[in-house]
Each structure stands twice: as structure tokens, then as C-alpha cells.
Assembly symmetry: C2
DNA sequence: GTATATAACGAACGTTCGTTCTATTATGTA
DNA sequence: TACATAATAGAACGAACGTTCGTTATATAC
């Protein structure tokens, strides 16, 4: 009962790396087995189907994002500090290739499965809804703490912040533009500033 | 010589539709041939290789974007009107699924090939560089016309505007969120306003 | 240390992949 | 109408795909 879990984790880690490069759909059991030095059938036995492998791989990716980007931010005091920490972590995450050699697995899957019905898409949507909700909540707390203007629309701000992250990932990976991180941090600060309660000018 | 071009166009149109759903890498010659009611080898003869088919399909996608979103905006007077028209067209483009049933082919390919070296990636990068440059130029013209503050950084603003588009596409397609378009238009207006030369307050 | 459950293997299944031939139609031109 | 050429079809290829099977090796529990 122990050995199984162990190699399963090994497989999923390698699967995340491979899928980040070729996509969850491009992920092939044979290639994955070769990379791990094990047999196709031996690997396959850990999952009942390819779809299950895809699901478990995505779940692993979501978990890694959550524990790398999101959870550490909760240590910061609620309000602006927490919100800033969240996006600082997120930018760092993007900077270091989003936890996988081929970039963020979740982002890639979001485009790959945006019109491919099934369990993978549903998992993706659920994760995205949860994340968006959590960001909006952090914004709401910042309003309650008096850090942001009461008129701030949490969902609108969430939308715009998410756009900054997407643009950063895009510029870093496709265009290999190192300035993306600076631009992202600048955009974040100016966006926050625009929603901040103004002190004496 | 004429019939060939004709069916070639037919093939590429269908290829765009299919690739938008399964990706340029997931695009298969057999499936494409079946959809068109022709033989695999007959279709294949129009392109020397699968990579060539992918390249031509992407080129077609880029051309469609250019003539649907970009070129019409050039009819507007330079400066803010042209910039607004460009993004109004772009938002409409996203609203109607970016010209293909599976969403924007270019966006999908950008993620699919962001770490897959080769001709497709190079075409993608070239197209993206050109587009970014064109947007930055439109911004620069708006500065010259006195519509935007002289201190405006064209590349920074381009980055942020592009982020809005990415977030819109994401929310519309993965989350099926109809409010995305409104949020995008709102974000655009506020971003422009922040860079506008302020009249009397 | 032996019995048993679990994990991994190797071979084969039927499909589909991209690609290469050769043959047969359809088309444009003299 | 005849001919040259371009366009399509059909069959076959080796490889890879996901999956199933029966068997062997290994780890766990008594």
C-alpha cells in the first residue's frame, strides 16, 4: 500500500512536467513511461484511463499552485498587504515558469479545454471559480479594512488583476520578454493606487 | 491551377475551425479529410507536411484577425479614436468566438507553442511582435495628437491593454461569463482615462 | 519465513497517426 | 476534340496511440 502511492506521486510529478510542455491532451502514456524508465502497462495500472491520469495531473498542478502562490499569502494581514502578497507570489510563480518547465499547467489547460466538455474542463472551471472568488474576497476585505475605496467592484478588479497575470505569462513565455515582470508590478501598483483612498495630495 | 487554390482555401478554412478546437498540434490530417469528404492523401498533396499545414492554417488565422480587427481601425482618425476602434473591434472579435468555433487560434497556439521551437513558433512570435508594435504605434500617435499624456509609456500601456483582452477571452470561453465584455470595456475606458490629459476637474 | 496482496512487466489488441507510392480521374488549353 | 497537367483517390508503410491480458517480481503482513 505504500510503494504504490510513492511511484504514483513520482509519475504525477513527471506528468506535470511533460504536460506543461505538450499539453494534457498531448500527454502520452508511452512517452511518460519511457521518461520514468518503466513500462506502459505498469504506469497505466495506476490510473484506470488516460482521462483519469489527466485529471490527477491537473489536480496535482492545482494543489501546487495553491500551496505556492495562494496559501502563503494568507499569513499576511488581511487587506492590502495580503492582496499585494498574493500577486507578488503569483508574479514570482510566473517568473519561475509557473512550477513546470513548460509554463503554467492550469493556464495551458484552460485554453486547451475551454471548449472540450468533460471532467477535466469541469475541474478546471471549479478551480478557476474558487480562485476568482478568493481574490474577490481578499479585495472585499481590503475594502472593509479601509484600504480600498468603498465603491470598488471586487469582481471587476479581480478581472483586471487576472489580466495582468495573463499578459505577464504570455510575454515571458512566448516573447521571452524579461521586462514583463516589471510591467506587471507597475500595472499592479497603479491599479491599486487608483482604487486606494487618497490621502492628502 | 485554379481548382487547386480553391480547395486549398476550403481546406484551410476547415483546418482553422478544427484547430481552434483541438489545437494546431491536435489537428490531424485524417480527421480533417473526413470532415471535408475527401481522402487523406488528396488533402495531404496540397501541403508537403503536417508542419506546413499547421503553418498555412496559422497564417490564415493571422490574416483573418488582421482584416477583421486591425485593418478596419485604420479608417478611424489617428489618436484615441483609432485606438478605441481597435479595441472595440477586438472585443467584438472575442465576443463572436474570435473567428472560429473553438476560440482564437492565435491565442491557443501562443500557449501551445510557447516552448515548442520551430517554424510555427517563429511565425507566432513574428505576428505577435508586429501586433504589439502596431498597438504601441497607435498609442504613440495618440500622444502626438495630444490625446494622451506625454509621459505615457506605449509599451507599458500595450501590455496592460493586451491583458484586458486575454482576461476577456478567458472569462468568455472557460467561464462562459457574459459580463466579461462589459468588464473589458470598462477597464479599457478607465485605463484610457488615467492616461488622458485632464480637462478642468 | 512463508503466504498473500500489490506492483510492475511484456506482449498483443485494434486504431490512428503522418507519409509515400501508384493509379485514376478531372481540368485547362491548343 | 486531343493532349498535358494538375488534382484526387486508394492502398500500404512503420510507428505510436490507449487499453487489456496473463504472468512474474516485489513488498507487506502474519
Amino acid at each position: 500500500m505504500r510503494k504504490g502511492e510513492q511511484t504514483r506521486t513520482l509519475i504525477l510529478n513527471e506528468a506535470m512536467a511533460l504536460a506543461s510542455q505538450v499539453g494534457l491532451e498531448g500527454l502520452s502514456i508511452g512517452a511518460l513511461a519511457t521518461r520514468l524508465g518503466m513500462s506502459k502497462s505498469g504506469l497505466f495500472a495506476h490510473f484506470g484511463s488516460k482521462e483519469d491520469l489527466q485529471l490527477q495531473t491537473l489536480k496535482q498542478g492545482q494543489a501546487r499552485f495553491e500551496e505556492t502562490v495562494f496559501r502563503p499569502a494568507l499569513n499576511e494581514p488581511r487587506g492590502l498587504p495580503r492582496l499585494r502578497a498574493l500577486f507578488a507570489n503569483w508574479f514570482s510563480w510566473v517568473e519561475q515558469n509557473s512550477g513546470a518547465p513548460g509554463g503554467c499547467l492550469i493556464l495551458a489547460a484552460s485554453i486547451e479545454y475551454d471548449d472540450r466538455p468533460g471532467a477535466v474542463r469541469e475541474l478546471l472551471v471549479a478551480g478557476q471559480r474558487e480562485l476568482r472568488g478568493a481574490i474577490a474576497k481578499a479585495i472585499r476585505l481590503a475594502i472593509d479594512e479601509g484600504h480600498l475605496k468603498p465603491g470598488t467592484d471586487p469582481w471587476q478588479l479581480t478581472f483586471e488583476l487576472f489580466g495582468i497575470v495573463l499578459a505577464t505569462h504570455h510575454d515571458r513565455r512566448l516573447l521571452d520578454d524579461a521586462r514583463a515582470l516589471d510591467r506587471a508590478r507597475g500595472a499592479l501598483e497603479r491599479l491599486i493606487e487608483a482604487h486606494q483612498i487618497q490621502a492628502a495630495s
